[in-house]
């Protein structure tokens, strides 16, 4: 019994990502076609050369047909994947394992979400019939409970914590302003962030990820075949996943200052990739900044900062675009919004650009370290799923 991983056995050889935003003029099928066409083109192949497909969508469609119809895939194995907000990452994990197993030569992961057709604010899950006792809180409210708990545990005063969270938001908007595919492409000042209307607890509008439509896609092949498709493949070093049991919600020992599922997934990923000092070995990290306190806590859960230290590192600029370890150089969920099925693959897309030195110069980070991390979570504090991957430019 062990988590062995598939280090260096699978490579990403093509990726696509649509601009994220309010695509009033594009349906789900359009987004799928756009992202898939870009990914296939990057790998220099046609859809017929792909042996199997995994399609991630949380609630924009049911079954593999949701992908097979717009792409007109004839008789291919197409599977729909759903795993909360990690849905896009999970599509890639499945495709990579399928190739690593030898079952297929070429596989493709596509993630897409059409959110803005609902007519409501925010993300709204459609739940199965129930007994009426489940919570009906928004995600913002659930995550808002992290901020005061963190501040209390580590003795951070309210004013400082507000500044820390605003720094995270401002940093991600700064990065997003340099990304033509982001939903929000404007820098936002800390003053504006702090003055935004409260949504839940102390969280304001600018502490929350936006809501957007979007799609992203990746083509994966065996590592030894990668050279046939591209000169600059990304090798998969680690894919890890941890689903909590939901017991954090009812466990009196849980204190809302960390996400155990993310710690577990990170530990497993680092073991798979042979990483011992992530802060110094990673060139960049794309993390799930659904709310500003989430990114703060993740810096500790992912081992980028010691417990109770992340707030100081944030203020010191450690995770800024020109910092020691740039986090969310593409702007994160903060700038991209969160089309659930696409977000995980969008994070890989930024690693694809950055590690291949294809990001626009104004946000290209130094990538001599050759490794990048993506982290994706779904659910709430106490009841969460978490994904962590590491990709790199070289074998070994």
């Amino acid at each position: 019994m062990a988590s062995h991983g598939i280090r260096d056995r699978v490579a990403i050889v093509g990726m696509g990502c649509t601009p994220f935003g309010e695509h009033w003029d594009k349906g789900l099928d359009d987004l799928i076609v756009d992202a898939s066409t870009e990914a296939l083109g990057g790998a220099g192949i046609t859809k017929d050369e792909v042996d199997a497909f995994w399609f991630g969508t949380a609630q924009s469609g049911m079954s593999g047909i949701t992908l097979a119809r717009p792409l007109q895939l004839q008789g291919k194995p197409v599977t729909r994947v759903e795993n909360y907000c990690t849905t896009g990452s999970e599509a890639l994990r499945a495709a990579a394992y399928a190739v690593a197993s030898g079952a297929y030569d070429v596989a493709m992961a596509v993630g897409a979400e059409k959110v803005k057709d609902s007519g409501y604010q925010g993300l709204n899950a459609v739940n199965p019939p129930g007994d009426g006792t489940a919570r009906t809180l928004t995600a913002a409210a659930m995550f808002s409970m992290v901020a005061p708990a963190y501040a209390k545990k580590y003795g951070v005063d309210e004013e400082t914590l507000t500044d820390v969270l605003a720094t995270i938001s401002a940093k991600n908007h700064f990065n997003g302003a340099r990304n033509p595919r982001a939903q929000f492409r404007r820098e936002v000042s800390k003053e504006t962030i702090c003055a935004s209307p409260r949504v839940a607890g102390t969280l304001g509008v600018f502490d929350c990820a936006g809501v957007a439509d979007g799609a992203a896609a990746a083509v994966v092949v065996r590592a030894e075949d990668a050279g046939r498709y591209t000169d600059k493949p990304l090798y998969i070093k680690a894919l890890s996943f941890a689903a909590g049991s939901g017991s954090g919600l009812i466990d009196p020992d849980y204190d809302y200052t960390h996400f155990p599922e993310c710690e577990l997934a990170a530990r497993d990923a680092y073991a798979q990739a042979g990483i011992t000092d992530p802060r110094r070995q990673l060139a960049l990290a794309e993390v799930h900044d659904c709310f500003t306190p989430t990114e703060l806590v993740l810096m500790e859960d992912l081992g980028f900062a010691g417990r109770g230290e992340a707030w100081k590192e944030v203020l010191a600029g450690t995770f800024a675009l020109d910092g020691e370890l740039p986090v969310n150089p593409d702007g994160g969920l903060k700038s991209f919004g969160h089309p659930v099925g696409a977000s995980g693959l969008r994070m890989f897309f930024e690693c694809w650009l950055q590690l291949r030195r294809e990001a626009p110069a104004e946000r290209q980070v130094p990538v001599e370290r050759g490794l990048a991390l993506t982290h994706n979570l779904g659910g709430y504090p106490g009841e969460m799923v978490s994904f962590v991957s590491v990709v790199g430019t070289a074998l070994g």
């Binding site: 609902s118 409501y120 604010q121 925010g122 709204n124 739940n127 019939p129 129930g130 007994d131 009426g132 006792t133 919570r135 009906t136 809180l137 928004t138 913002a140 409210a141 659930m142 808002s144 409970m145 005061p148 708990a149 209390k152 409260r198 949504v199 839940a200 607890g201 049991s245 017991s247 919600l249 009812i250 466990d251 009196p252 849980y254 809302y256 106490g382």
Partner: protein
């Protein structure tokens, strides 16, 4: 000997200043306050709260019948008493029946139980409505009462024995409301007053005779009616001793309709001494009179939360009151409304949903809310014991205010609560000021209606700040403070 084994009133937390009506509309209102059910309360939930208090005052009672009376039922066709039975976790053998419609049904159910057999929990609850600015809106009040009726026995001493009952019925249209209407109408007051006076005197005389008491010997009398003028006139014609007329709670609570006789009876019983003769007169389409005498056991009876302790509440604005009563429709949050509750899912979860019963792992002691078959600690399967948590008290560990989520009355105040003795539950808080909640606040559980969809009400539990005696408290201090 047959009589009351326990009694309790339940008053919702919120109070409307009647003067706010005048300030808002330019007319109507009056002096004092009225009790207002929160947006998540209905007659069923208020009845549950009253019944919980009554049963705490009668720990040994084996209830075999539950009769629920209201003029404002949460459901028609479907019995409301079964939800009360489920929330109280009474056994399935309990006959659960609704007494519906008329304002006499509350006292009528109590009189029937007193003249019957077995141990009956009589519950009455009303939510009194009226059009904005009208007399009914200000004069009415929301509340519930519950009375445990049975035979004197070891462990279930009767604290007030039945001495006499009498009724005088007559057919005349004084106050009426057609089904589906929110608003009651009333005939010109003078006519009914002339009818109620002779009916009340007749019933009063027969009840006193049956009880073997003279009117002047009755220690305390409560006169209830939605016809305030008749109630006042009747009270003056009963031949009562000085100071025998009980406070009708008009200044603080308002008239709670079917609940009012039981509510005032509970309030009188809380202050009664052995030998006191207590009477209730209810005027509605006739007159009904009930005479009881407090027994020696009343001195050792402990009301769980006296009515007197519930008279003060928190202020609700008139605008919010109107929106809670659906007289005014504020813009809802732009979020989808909840789906209707699944009947089979709710039935399977009956102990949890209605009774707030979790499970505890026999090996690790870990408390699971909701119940789980597999333990979160150690992984034992099907080795759990049921753990009723409705009476548990807890502490707020952390909290948040959700301004975006759907609620019939935003925002949602939500807290993570750790219960004394073990167990944690993240739960919505109610009867709370969002600006005043704090970590460390003490919280008790209360049965509420979360929302309604497709006409199906979603009942479940919420937390609310612990304000008066603890659920397990004995009420002695309040009793001493209110004794005259």
């Amino acid at each position: 000997m047959r009589g009351l084994i326990s009694a309790a009133g339940y008053l919702p937390y919120w109070r409307l200043q009647r003067s706010d009506v005048q300030a808002f509309l330019g007319s109507g209102g009056g002096r004092g306050t009225r009790a207002v059910a929160s947006h998540d309360e209905d007659t069923t939930t208020m009845g549950v709260e009253a019944a919980r208090l009554a049963l705490r005052g009668a720990p040994g009672a084996a209830v075999d019948g539950l009769w629920f009376a209201t003029t404002s039922p949460a459901y028609l066709d479907k019995t409301n008493a079964t939800a009360v039975v489920a929330a109280l976790r009474l056994p399935a053998e309990v006959g659960a029946f609704d007494f519906g419609g008329g304002l006499r049904s509350g006292l009528g159910a109590l009189m029937a139980a007193l003249r019957g057999t077995g141990t009956t929990l009589v519950v009455a609850a009303d939510q009194r409505d009226g059009l904005p600015g009208g007399a009914d809106e200000s004069f009415g009040g929301d509340g519930a009462a519950a009375l445990v009726v049975g035979d004197d026995g070891p462990g279930t001493p009767v604290v007030a024995e039945l001495r006499g009952v009498a009724s005088a019925s007559d057919e005349f249209v004084d106050r009426w409301r057609t089904p589906g209407e929110r608003r009651s109408k009333a005939w010109e007051e003078r006519f009914a007053e002339t009818r109620y006076l002779p009916l009340a005197r007749d019933a009063w005389a027969r009840a006193c005779k049956a009880a073997g008491v003279e009117a002047g010997d009755v220690t305390k009398v409560a006169v209830c009616s939605m016809h305030g003028r008749a109630a006042k006139a009747v009270a003056g014609k009963l031949g009562l001793a000085e100071g025998a007329l009980a406070d009708d709670l008009a200044a603080t609570v308002g008239q709670t309709g079917t609940a009012h006789p039981g509510l005032l009876l509970a309030a009188m019983l809380e202050r009664a001494r052995p030998g006191d003769v207590l009477a209730v007169v209810n005027l509605a389409d006739g007159a009904d009179v009930l005479v009881l005498r407090a027994t020696a056991a009343v001195s050792s009876w402990r009301p769980a939360r006296p009515v007197a302790d519930q008279l003060a509440g928190g202020a609700v604005s008139y605008g919010r009151f109107l929106s809670w009563r659906q007289m005014l429709t504020p813009e809802p949050p732009r979020r989808p409304e909840p789906q209707r509750v699944s009947t089979p899912a709710a039935w399977r979860a009956e102990d949890w949903k209605f009774g707030f019963v979790g499970t505890r792992d026999r090996t690790s002691g870990a408390v699971h809310l909701p119940p789980s078959r597999v333990s979160m600690r150690g992984g034992a399967v099907d080795d759990m014991e049921a753990l009723p948590m409705a009476d548990a008290v807890g502490t707020v560990v952390t909290y948040t205010v959700d301004r975006l989520a759907y609620s019939p009355s935003p925002p949602i105040v939500f807290a993570v609560v750790d219960f004394d003795g073990g167990g944690r539950f993240p739960v919505e808080l109610t009867d709370v000021d969002a600006e005043r909640i704090a970590i460390g606040d003490r919280v008790e559980m209360t049965f509420r209606r979360l929302f309604s969809a497709d006409g199906i009400h979603d009942y479940f539990w919420k937390g609310r700040p612990l304000r008066s005696a603890t659920p397990e408290g004995d009420g002695t201090a309040a009793r001493a403070a209110t004794a005259d």
